[in-house]
Structure formats: structure tokens, C-alpha cells
Symmetry: C2
Subunit: 214 residues, 2 copies
């Protein structure tokens, strides 16, 4: 027998996981991501590219990759973005190379994104893990939108209707977690990352190659 | 809107998970299961049915369901076993009703079983979660078999050859975890249980039904 002493652990987890965290507006994606950032050392946050001007204190490559409109359009043409959208005259998108660099280094990366954007990412990067954040109840979602205090009654009705339509897109996701409590939601996401690293589909080819060698 | 205050959490996790833990002889299934039993309150251990005589201190329904040969054969005829096998003149099997009762109560249940038995369970209970325990290396597996000290050199060679054949059946499993350290293996199994409860396929029908009501 040759190479019987090769460590199986080295075969199992050499590449990171792209975790796409999505869900309706108001569900608390940002809060959960901020809590994860505090509690999880090895998780990298996806940095978006944008054509908007940097605000004071924002650093290129940390807060955003700041690009000119020409550069951004070239990235679209070169298929360098996992998704992109225009918002109030500026472009925003997820650079594929940044995600792939982090994954190749063995670290996991999390991308916080609205529901339509997540589905675009899935189209270009189906090996990602797509997690849908659900509100504890629709009443609670409405509370969360209302307590922001910035929206008219009509706008709130409209957001609730969009949220319900988005929740029907759950079937395109891999996991659904309830954001009843931020720490509990974080623990579930961390468990999903651990479990996904152990999924047979992610390790089988390496184990098979190893078995062929021994 | 009716029932908007219904808690999504109630919809998400009402049924338990059958975790089938398998892997080659010597990999440490029993040690991992014993450690899980200590550290996890809500996890129930599958009790086997057998025709062998109870040993001193063994309790019916706790260590085994003790059955006569006639009763056991009737269970086979009635398709009441998820798998069964004969070993040294006695029958052993996994009663379906016990597993289903535990799952219906909302608790998870773990079944520790050798590789062939696990594949039989998968045939009858595909909604189970099938986890394959891998040794840290083949050398380490051989060490573990040798340190039992009860086997001849030929028997060890034979077991190693069976183990390698069994590892090639990994593709029929959902997860592969390395038993490098018992506590780490337990944490991975616990993470898999948390993640599986959040899988979209397990919650979608409930969320959809709920969405149709609001």
C-alpha cells in the first residue's frame, strides 16, 4: 500500500464555500451579517464593485471596489460579475474573481444580497450555498419595516407585498432559516457551513482519487 | 391578512431527522455515538430488535427489543424492519415504528450501523441523513484494528480490504466526516443535524401552505 498515511482531512476540506444570504427587505440580513463578522474569524465578506463615488472614510477594496462606469461596463462584457444591478444611476455588482480567490485560499465567503440578485448569482455560480432568511412572522416583518419610521403606509403595504412574493421564491434556495434571534440565526449559518464542507458531493472526487492511489 | 402572526419557527422544525451513522469496522462509530449520547440531550438512539437472549442487566426496549424468532420473522413479513441481518444464529434488525415514533415527536434519532445495513435502510427510508465516518488515514484505521489485539494478521489484512471496499460506497451517502478527534466528529454531526432541519426541501411545503393562508 502506498500513501496510506495520507491524511483524509487534507482531502476533505480544501476549498471554501460561497454562502449567499438573502431574504426580503427588513428581515435583518445586515444585522445577521454584522454579528457573523464579529463571531466568525474565517469568514470573508464579499466586497461589491460600484460606480458610485467613495464616501469619506471608505477604502477601495475594503468597502467597495470603486470603478469608473467604463471599467464597470467592461467587467459586465467580460463576464466578471456574478450579478449586477443599476440603482439610482449607479452600478453595483459582485466581482467573481474576488469570490474565487477567497474560495481557493480555503476560506468561506458570505454574500449578503436581495432575493433577485441571489437568483442571478445562482445562475452563474450554482455551487454556492443559498440561504433564505425568514422573518419569525409576517407581523414581525411589518413591525421591523415600520420601526424604521421612514416609510409611508402605502410604501409599507408595497414592501410587505414584495416580501411575500419573494418568500415564494424559497424553492430556489438550499436552506431556510428563521431570524427569530440574531445569535441563533448565526449559529444556524455556522452549522450550515460546517455541514456543507462535509457534503459527499464536495469530497467524493478527492476520496475516490485517494482510494485509487492506495 | 389572516394568520400573519403565525410563527414561522413552528412551521420549520416539527419533525425530527433520522441520522444514520456508518463507516468501516474500526473507524470508531461506537465511540462517537457514545460521546454524542453524553453531549446531546435531544438525540434518541435507535433500539434494535433481536432474537438473542437478554444478557444480565439488559432491559427490553432499552438495550434491545427482545423478540422470539417467530415474532421476528413476522416483523420481516410485515415490512416492520428498516433492515435486518442474521449473525451467529441470531437475528438483528431496526424496527421502523420506533424510528417513526421518535421522529413524529420532533426529536432526532441516530442509528449506528455497518455499511451494508445503512444502504438497506436508505432503500426503505431515503429521507434519512446518511453520514459516513472516515478514518484520518488508512494507517490509522489499521492501527485501531491492530490495537484491539484480538485479530490475526490475515484477519487484519482482510478487514482492511473490506474497509477499502466500503469506503468506495461513500457516494451513496449524504455526508462524509473524518473521525480525527471524537469531539470534532461530534460537533460535525451536530452541525449536520442543525443544517438538515433548515434544508429547503424539509420546510418548503410548510412555508408554502402558510403563504397560501395569509
Amino acid at each position: 500500500m502506498i500513501m496510506t498515511n495520507k491524511k483524509v482531512a487534507d482531502l476533505v476540506s480544501d476549498k471554501g464555500i460561497l454562502m449567499v444570504l438573502s431574504g426580503p427587505s427588513g428581515v435583518g440580513k445586515g444585522t445577521v451579517c454584522a454579528a457573523l463578522r464579529k463571531s466568525t474569524n474565517d469568514l470573508v465578506y464579499s466586497v461589491s464593485a460600484t460606480t458610485r463615488e467613495p464616501r469619506q472614510g471608505e477604502v477601495d477594496g475594503v468597502n467597495y471596489f470603486f470603478r469608473t462606469k467604463e471599467q464597470f461596463l467592461q467587467m459586465i462584457a467580460d463576464d466578471e460579475l456574478l450579478e449586477w444591478a443599476e440603482y439610482v444611476g449607479n452600478y453595483y455588482g459582485t466581482p467573481r474573481y474576488f469570490v474565487e480567490e477567497v474560495l481557493a485560499s480555503g476560506k468561506d465567503i458570505i454574500l449578503e444580497i436581495e432575493v433577485q440578485g441571489a437568483l442571478k448569482v445562482k445562475h452563474k455560480f450554482p455551487e454556492g450555498v443559498f440561504t433564505f432568511l425568514l422573518p419569525p412572522s409576517l407581523d414581525e416583518l411589518q413591525n421591523r419595516i415600520e420601526t424604521r419610521g421612514t416609510e409611508s403606509e402605502e410604501s409599507i403595504r408595497n414592501r410587505m407585498s414584495v416580501a411575500k412574493a419573494e418568500m415564494r421564491l424559497l424553492e430556489h434556495y438550499d436552506y431556510a432559516i428563521v431570524n427569530d434571534e440574531v445569535e441563533a440565526a448565526c449559529r444556524r449559518i455556522q452549522s450550515i457551513l460546517v455541514a456543507e464542507r462535509c457534503r459527499q458531493e464536495r469530497v467524493l472526487h478527492k476520496i475516490k482519487k485517494w482510494m485509487d492511489e492506495v
